[in-house]
């Protein structure tokens, strides 16, 4: 058995079904060995998207997403995808080919110091020097990626190591690292403290972040909110923790969130942050948030607690375990008046839009679309105005809402939607992007066609980089700089080049029928919605 065979065997042991990637000489031994395996390989059209596709798959399955690319430019191209997964805490194992061990450090063809380059974007990285180390390293990599605060792990394998003979292959059953033992269970004393504050609080609120979804704790959180009548708001990454229409859910917070959600958070006397980083987009002034309230911060990563805001009660551990512990506690709390107040805000503080009837109103369109989508569908929003309209208007029922709230990488939606569709072909998967973000990933239409991945794509077309244009509208008084997208391709012709069904919606008049037809069959469709170029999210 060769090193490359061992690498494939490790992936099989981990139950990997798909590897997204792009070959090159330095990773060829691996791609040769994988031919004998049942693992499917998906040839993505640019390496960055291999990591995004793996991210989409990981988020839907809860398993580690895997990508494999070659050395040098292949490895450097994948960095943005890795950094995106790192910011969003998505478990990935990224394998990179590397030049021959003996040539390391001599700047030969397609050599890049990738472990050095990704150091600040990975949870951990390995440069494999001995083929016999492959089983241990892969076992550790998968464990590190998908435990504690999840994130990407990179394994760099020189070509001679892939070609070396492995003397004995034994996949370890356990990981034993003296430096890595993430805290899962919450501290009992801290849990009691939180419960005590909860039973005293008049205006408690939970702010749920992406960590709740990553720890698969939606069920527990919903049960807890229901049982103790604690209202819930979410960050962008936390959308989907509660069904949008759940009576205890009060929307997304942050500078792009719902005004009523922010007001609810500000007026609370007990704020329980769970699986959220308290980053600038969710909480613009972290210092103020603790002024008039008790802050409980629950996170699996101890370094997040106290990083942006000093909590009254820190609680380190996995959200699922901690909320389950809360559910075990016997206490009562009474805040019906608070719920009445919040429901009043929710009913009266919605954003009032004045849509231009000559175009599609993206807000109304997204509401109609999500109502028509299947209950367990996956909705992937890209980055830009489309993302904010999606966050504010998409109605999550029993499905998932995916977007990159941490890194905000344009072009994420199409590859991530492909990963999500491959994770579960039975699910309806819709990617919503703008004409800017679409053009960052449109090469993947070929991948969708080649591997028959029927993702549905909506392009909200306004011929602008809308989010930046909006910023320039407010900050630079309409002095637009480098945001005009004229020159973009005719999407109808483009769809036909890729044998894809194409639809176009000009106004809201035919929205209902168009959406129905768009969703009707399990096939790839590109729906272009013409939206007002001057439309604003705020």
């Amino acid at each position: 058995m060769l090193g490359a065979d061992a690498m494939v065997k490790c992936l099989e042991e981990e139950g990997v079904k798909y590897v997204f990637g792009y070959p090159g000489v330095a990773i060829c031994p691996f791609y040769n060995s994988i031919l004998d395996s049942k693992i499917d390989t998906i040839l993505i059209r640019t390496e960055q998207n291999a990591a995004h596709a793996a991210s989409g798959l990981a988020r839907v399955t809860g398993q580690v997403g895997v990508c494999a690319v070659t050395s040098g430019p292949g490895a450097t191209n994948v960095i943005t995808g890795i950094a995106t997964a790192f910011a969003d805490s998505i478990p990935l194992v990224c394998i990179t080919g590397q030049v021959n061990s003996e040539l390391l450090g001599s700047d030969v063809f397609q050599e890049a110091d990738i472990t050095g380059a990704v150091e600040s974007f990975v949870k951990y990285s390995y440069l494999v020097r001995d083929a016999d180390e492959i089983p241990r390293i892969f076992k550790e990599a998968f464990y590190i990626a998908n435990s504690g605060r999840k994130g990407p792990v990179l394994i760099d394998v020189p070509i001679d190591v892939q070609n070396a003979v492995v003397n004995k292959f034994k996949y370890p059953e356990e990981v034993n690292m003296r430096t890595y033992k993430p805290t899962v269970k919450g501290h009992a004393v801290q849990i009691k403290k939180v419960v005590k504050e909860l039973s005293r609080a008049k205006r408690p609120i939970i702010c749920a972040g992406g960590g709740v979804l990553l720890s698969d704790a939606e069920k527990e959180l919903r049960e807890f909110a229901q049982k103790h009548r604690v209202p819930v708001v979410s960050t962008m990454m936390g959308i989907g923790v509660m069904p949008t229409k759940h009576p205890m859910y009060y929307g997304m917070v942050g500078n792009n969130g719902h005004p009523y959600a922010n007001r609810a958070m500000n007026e609370s006397d007990l704020l329980i942050m769970v699986g959220a980083r308290v980053a600038d987009r969710a909480v613009s002034q972290p210092d103020l948030i603790t002024e008039n309230k008790i802050l409980v911060h629950i996170d699996v990563d101890p370094a997040e607690i106290g990083k942006n805001v000093g909590p009254t009660i820190p609680l380190v551990g996995d959200a699922k375990h901690i909320i389950a512990d809360f559910l075990e506690e016997d206490f009562t709390c009474e805040h019906e008046e608070w719920i009445r107040v919040l429901s009043g805000y929710r009913d009266t503080m919605g954003r009032v839009r004045k849509p231009n009837p000559e175009y599609v109103d993206p807000a109304e369109f997204i509401r109609m679309l999500s109502e028509a989508m299947e209950d367990d569908a996956v909705y992937v929003a890209d980055v830009g105005q489309n993302q904010i309209w999606s966050c504010n208007n998409h109605v999550v029922k029993d499905g998932r809402f995916l977007t990159t709230g941490g890194m905000g990488t344009m072009g994420y939606s199409i590859p991530a939607a492909m990963g999500a569709k491959l994770a579960d072909r039975g699910k309806q998967v819709v990617a919503v992007c703008g004409d800017g973000s679409f053009q960052m990933s449109m090469m993947e239409l070929a991948t969708m066609r080649q591997f028959d991945v029927p993702v549905k794509i909506i392009v909200l077309k306004n011929n602008y980089l809308g989010m930046v244009r909006e910023y320039q509208h407010y900050t630079y008084k309409d002095n637009y700089s480098v945001v005009d997208l004229s020159g973009s391709p005719d999407l109808e012709k483009l769809s036909s080049a890729y044998d894809m069904k194409f639809m176009r919606l000009h106004t809201m008049e035919r929205a209902q029928e168009t959406i129905r037809e768009f969703l009707a069959k399990d096939e790839s469709v590109l729906l272009e919605c013409l939206i007002d170029p001057m439309d604003l999210v705020k």
């Binding site: 050095g116 150091e119 600040s120 003296r178 430096t179 101890p302 370094a303 106290g306």
Partner: protein, 163 residues
């Protein structure tokens, strides 16, 4: 606020780079850094002296702990530690100042460890403030070059230490 971090790490290539990178990426200061193998050849001990406000000090410890090559982090004040620094200093001397130099060395408990007809190397091992004081004392003499280890420190012995 000054703090000393005694960081036990895996003795592997690249670990120093990862730890130093963490400090630069998160804009933490490094006043001094000293690394060496411990009694166990698989581990190294890094002694890092850093300064910052309360939140920074806490973050440094947490971020260090988050690194997967870090086994253990101990954070302590200078007053709670025994710290030493070793310095080698090469100076030019002449007949006129040779005696002065030797006297200063004697007072400061420094040793002359090498010499030629024109230059000598002085070794001093002391707490960082006294090293600084020694440099000050020698400033009037022509210093050729200086090499310092940076602070090495261990937490003071406590009754609770004993296993």
């Amino acid at each position: 606020m000054k703090k000393i971090y005694s960081v036990l790490v895996e003795n592997r290539s690249g670990v120093l780079c990862k730890v130093a990178g963490l400090f630069s990426r998160r804009c933490f200061n490094i006043d001094s850094l000293a690394v060496g193998e411990t009694d166990d050849p698989t581990t190294s001990c890094m002694t890092i002296v850093s300064s910052g406000d309360q939140r920074t000090i806490e973050q440094i410890e947490k971020q260090l702990n988050k690194k997967l090559d870090v086994i253990k982090v101990k954070t302590f004040d200078e007053t709670a530690s025994v710290s030493r620094e070793l310095m080698l200093m090469k100076v030019k001397y002449n007949k006129g100042n040779r005696r002065d130099i030797m006297e200063t060395c004697e007072i400061m408990k420094a040793q002359i460890v090498d010499m030629s007809k024109k230059t000598m190397i002085i070794q001093i091992c002391d707490v960082p403030e006294r090293i600084q004081l020694f440099i000050g004392m020698m400033q009037s003499i022509s210093i050729v070059e200086v090499a310092r280890t940076g602070t090495l420190a261990l937490q003071k012995c406590l009754e609770t230490d004993v296993p």
